[in-house]
Symmetry: C2
Subunit: 337 residues, 2 copies
DNA sequence: CTGAAAGCGCTAACAA
DNA sequence: TTGTTAGCGCTTTCAG
């Protein structure tokens, strides 16, 4: 089954068209610097022979190969799916190839994979990187980098506006009369987890309600049990989970324990994944245009990889969130007897 | 922000270690054919200098670059997510790089992308390819190919056992007393859609119940409305949707029309996506180990790309399905008055 | 506008 | 076991 076919080279084309290899090369990569007539002849011969430029040879010279890598911290989270989708579409639109790598929530794996790819891709999109700041800075010296769902001074990034978003969440809960909210924290080295907590806490402070953090939890449905129990134990009337998966796990556990949502306790998630609109009750969650995040990250990366306007800046894009109200939040229960 | 750093070459290493470039090369790619002592010295110098082999140069010689592409017919379908996950894990385990491409349900886009990548990747995994047989055969001549969720004589493939699976579905419905099942067909050029229908039909025939097909439908939630209406119009007591997304859309529409599930009509999907267990009612669906599909496809592809045992066959793997019974199927309604 | 020729970094004969 | 020497296919000065 299939043998790597050799394929014609510019030598074959040059010979067949009666020109030098450099002319063939120019006809393809520098069309303006070759006579229109000869160019067309060359191109005609090329297509006739079925010539296709060898990307490896091209990459050897230029060092670039129209390929970028997207490294996601945990591919099992459906939330990333949207990011990947957006990134893939944007990359393809510019005829860039997208390499996908999963870091399995492990900084070590993440770093190793990045180093493995560093010399074979033109740049990196790092989604929710778990690497320490200094590593990121060091990588950014080797290759252009755009961070997603993480910010670091001096590096390009694309994030959702969680300061604003978390405030909305807290205001929503406060307006329902909640006085005690518990945040179920995400992974220890997740920038998002830290950001959400700090945003929630200051919003809570501003509104004069209590905010507690418990965790960290691996943000999976399966962790919802422990998380829910912990939250109830902490005496919360409102639970804000690090993401929708964890929130769904919490809903399950609460149902199991016959705790009514939202009558007894309200639950809020993050990400607005597809399933958030299907679970019972449906989940109130802080969403945003995640595919746009992916798109935007790639767009910024491409600009860094192949600059058009020579602006040497590191844009830090912040996209708006949207609080999607559904069935899992409601008025705070009366203080327990 | 970041300049593509030059980096040391084997010349630098060779000079620093006082050996020839070929020795350096061998020390890396053919360790046995170089004196242990010099090898270690070379490697020491190499790491000291921070030398990393240039993959482009290597690829130029060998024609291979430890990279495979996975082309999915529609990346918006969360079902593919699992396939991608499995494929990525398997590829990474063998230090292969996985390129991800979305074909947007368009055979033209699919073909173009494959041709664009043909000379820069070592092989292809084509997930639910929408290309005509002859195109697939032609591609398989250029590069090793493994099909997923599609079979074609002479090509490697990995599929779930839908003949068996569809029989289970029909038997399940028949055992509940259903006499009329409607299949909501998937895309016209989907091999899976054709396969499912033929398997459903023959199973129905064997059991003496009626099977009708309507469609094709784009398998999205949004198409569930039209699909549900069509199915009711066809007088079905049981609806088998091409996939879970469509099935969920059907459930929504039925709820809207106050048709009770499963009391008035039963609904079955395919894929067992995460959301199938969260919707209301929960969805009976034909699932399978989708991540294993991805894993398996990549495994076969790697064997074709870099053969270990020289077996020149084209394995056609068939993995088992599992019928997941949930709340959307129940006894057939009594014949309408 | 076009051609000749020198490499990009590495591997693979072929010699030594 | 190691070194020498051609290239892989393409781009890019530098002449013409």
């Amino acid at each position: 089954m299939s043998t790597p076919v050799p394929g014609p080279t510019i030598y074959d084309v040059a010979a067949a068209a009666g020109v030098a290899t450099s002319t063939v090369s120019r006809a393809f990569s520098n069309p303006t610097r070759v006579n229109a007539t000869t160019r067309e002849r060359v191109l005609a011969v090329a297509t006739e022979l079925g010539y296709r430029p060898n990307p490896h040879a091209r990459a050897l010279l230029s060092g670039r190969n129209h390929t970028i890598a997207m490294v996601v911290s945990d591919i099992t989270n459906p939330h990333y799916f949207e990011l990947i989708r957006g990134a893939e579409m944007r990359a393809r639109a510019s005829e860039y190839t997208l390499v996908l790598v999963n870091a399995e929530e492990s900084p070590r794996v993440e770093y190793e994979q990045i180093q493995r790819l560093a010399s074979s891709v033109d740049g990196f999109v790092l989604a929710a990187s778990r690497l320490p700041d200094e590593n990121l800075r060091q990588i950014a010296v080797q290759r252009p980098v755009v961070l997603m769902s993480r910010e670091l001074a001096g590096l390009s990034s694309v994030v959702l506006d969680h300061v604003q978003g978390c405030r909305q969440v807290v205001e929503h809960l406060a307006s329902l009369g909640h006085q005690d909210v518990v945040y179920l924290a995400g992974p220890r080295n997740s920038w998002m987890a830290a950001t959400r907590w700090s945003a929630l806490r200051s919003a809570a402070e501003a509104l004069g309600i209590r905010a507690t953090r418990i965790g960290p939890f691996t943000p999976r449905v399966s962790q919802g049990g422990a998380a829910a129990d912990g939250a109830l134990h902490a005496g919360a009337t409102a639970i804000v989970a690090h993401n929708d998966l964890l929130a769904i796990g919490v809903l399950r556990r609460l149902a199991q324990r016959a705790v009514r949502v939202p009558d007894d306790v309200s639950v809020v998630g993050f990400d607005n994944i597809f399933a958030a609109d299907l679970c019972t009750p449906t989940l109130t969650t802080l969403g945003g245009a995640h595919a746009d995040l992916g798109r935007s990250a790639v767009e910024i990366l491409l600009e860094a990889v192949a600059p058009v306007r020579t602006k040497e800046s590191a844009p830090q894009v912040v996209l708006p969130t949207e609080l999607v109200l559904r069935g899992s939040t409601g008025p705070a229960a009366r203080p327990a007897v």
